[in-house]
């Protein structure tokens, strides 16, 4: 599956946030969208997933216009975990994950045995199987984020869109989340598109990185080619070195010391 955004202009009301954006998403790859606050990262993600209408331009999924997809058809092809989501705290984990089957059902249908099997699979793949009988408010922040990923995974999408999946998590759970993303990609071949704030994490897990600055695409490419001291200076106005450490495959970002 390939998603192509062509000449996208996206905005809220009269304000244009994203201008003439071309963006291509490959299935089976991990793509990260990075950029400073307010640069339009989340806006692009929302436009590609039809959570936000775009003013001009077009999005194609496998050559077919995004506008021609029915809501359910789209939800069977792509899964989106928005940044803002909430469930009543007393909802049970397995019940919440079960809602991921909705795109496959008529409005009056309940989950059947096949749906239950997929719900179980999604809970096992995301490591929340043990939590299935608990209610959401009994889960920690990291656990509940995994539960939400399981819910989206239950849609059996080819591409998973995650809007800042690590925000509000402590470092252990952030790394845990990245590990999970990598695992889902490697073991299940699911494509992932993420908006990320943490550049070290983007550098570490991504196959492809798109850099957005002031609503326009600044650069895209492999992490090593994109994350450079020059980009960091021009996009974030931050001084850094990219350093290689023996025994580590990927380089690290060493920010200039705070004096």
């Amino acid at each position: 599956m390939v998603i192509n955004g062509e000449k996208l202009n996206i905005g809220y009301g009269d304000i244009t946030v994203v201008k003439d954006m071309d963006i291509n998403i490959q299935a089976g790859k991990i793509t990260s969208i990075i950029g400073p606050n307010g640069s339009g990262k989340s806006t692009v993600l929302k436009a590609l997933t039809r959570l936000l209408p775009y003013k001009f331009g077009s999005v194609y999924i496998d050559g077919r216009n995004l506008k021609d997809y029915s809501s359910k058809e789209l939800a069977r092809n792509i899964g989106v975990l928005p940044q803002m989501h909430s469930a009543p705290p007393d909802f049970q984990v397995k019940e919440l994950v079960g809602y991921g089957r909705m795109p496959y059902q008529k409005w009056y249908q309940k989950n059947n045995a096949e749906d239950d099997r997929i719900v179980d699979w999604a809970m096992r793949s995301t490591g929340v199987w043990e939590l299935r009988e608990k209610s959401i408010h009994e889960c920690s922040g990291g656990e509940s984020q995994r539960v939400w990923i399981a819910t989206v995974l239950t849609q059996q999408p080819e591409i998973l869109f995650l809007d800042e999946p690590t925000t509000y998590l402590d470092i252990a759970h952030q790394l845990d989340m990245m590990q999970l993303v990598r695992k889902l990609n490697k073991e299940n071949g699911i494509g992932v598109v993420m908006v990320l704030h943490d550049l070290s994490q983007a550098l570490e897990v991504s196959d492809w990185i798109v850099v957005i600055k002031d609503g326009e695409k600044y650069d895209e490419g492999t992490p090593e080619n994109v994350i450079t001291p020059k980009m960091m200076k021009e996009v974030y106005d931050v001084e850094c070195d990219i350093v290689h450490i023996e025994g580590r495959e990927k380089p690290l970002i060493a920010y200039r010391e705070i004096s």
Partner: protein, 338 residues
């Protein structure tokens, strides 16, 4: 092991709540038939009802108390269900049928007829229903902007409610000498209702309550947030409009028969949520059952507490319900983190 235990307790809890409510419903129903300005024993009632003779007891029970009992049950269930559904539409526990203009619309229509066209007084229920539907439609039209969003519904509801409220106040000031009928309508009452109203409401409430069971899954999905619901393939705006229509239909049906009864639609779903959780599979039936219990209790109290006088059920609901709700919020609020 531990977690399976928790699940069982939760199912047990729902079962217990339903059992208690059913018992209360039966006890209250029997009480409502027995008590009144004339008190009868169960034996007296049974022998009168099943005899072919036309006794006073039989007339009072069959023509006055029984229809009133059924009305109270239907109205309580309808208002609570209406409120429960609306709270999911708005994602706000403070939403009630008044929010979407049902009360103001019905009130405006009824006031207009009673004060300006008194010759049409017999058709007040019909006009009230129409007024409620119209006000609701107006609010949603104003709120529609490429979709409906709860904040816009609530805000345009506030605006339209205030305009209608002003119109009602003005009309009442100009006709301050003939407000009896208007007051009776504004403070919803079941006094003097007969089988005619029961038959009407049975059809409307029957349809409405059936429809609300079909809303359960959608109501649950709306609780996950708009973007999440959308990404699960739900057309959020259409769902909101459909659920609101069911809710408005139920509330309008009760208003047209009994006038405006506040508080039930707001409080009963809230108490149900505290007792059985937010899943509408349990919460909605609990609300219906509890709504019937609460309204029947309020009406029975209203017609017996002061001998020789009837206090409208709407007033009893607010006076007794308010403090009870406060008590519940303080006591149980901690548990659900409110």
């Amino acid at each position: 092991m531990d977690s399976t235990k928790k699940r069982k307790v939760s199912a047990l809890r729902v079962g217990t709540v339903w059992l208690i409510l059913t018992v209360l419903l039966v006890v209250l129903s029997i009480t409502a038939i027995n008590v009144g300005s004339a008190g009868y024993s169960i034996k007296q009632i049974l022998s009168a009802v099943f005899s072919s003779e036309k006794s006073t007891v039989k007339v009072v029970v069959m023509n006055l108390r029984l229809p009133r009992l059924i009305l109270a049950l239907l109205i309580g269930a309808s208002l609570s269900s209406s409120g429960a559904i609306l709270q999911s539409v708005m994602r706000n526990p403070l939403a009630d049928p008044g929010t979407i203009g049902v009360s103001a619309g019905a009130g405006t229509a009824a006031t207009t007829i009673l004060l300006l066209f008194p010759q049409l007084t017999g058709s007040v229920p019909l006009f009230a229903f129409g007024g409620a539907a119209l006000a609701c439609f107006l609010i949603y039209t104003m709120a529609w902007k490429g979709g409906v969003d709860p904040t816009r519904i609530i805000l345009s509801g506030v605006a339209i409610n205030s305009v209608l409220g002003a119109y009602n106040a003005l009309l009442q000031m100009l006709h301050s000498d003939s407000l009896e009928g208007v007051l009776a309508f504004m403070n919803g009452s079941l006094s003097g209702r007969s089988w005619t109203q029961v038959h009407t409401l049975m059809i409307y409430a029957g349809i409405g309550l059936l429809l609300s069971f079909l809303c359960i899954k959608s109501a649950n999905t709306l609780q996950l947030g708009d973007e999440m619901a959308k990404s699960l393939g739900v057309n959020v705006s259409v769902t909101r409009v459909l659920l609101s229509a069911v809710s408005a239909f139920l509330a309008a049906a009760t208003v047209s028969v009994a006038g405006m009864i506040g508080f039930v639609g707001l409080v009963v779903p809230h108490i149900s949520r505290i007792l059985v959780g937010s899943d509408y599979k349990q919460m909605l039936p609990t609300s219906m059952l509890m709504g019937s219990v609460v309204l029947l209790a309020a009406d029975t109290l209203g017609r017996t507490i002061v001998p020789g006088m009837e206090i409208p059920v709407g007033i009893v609901m607010s006076v007794v319900g308010g403090p009870f709700f406060l008590y519940l919020l303080r006591k149980r609020g901690k548990m659900i983190g409110n």
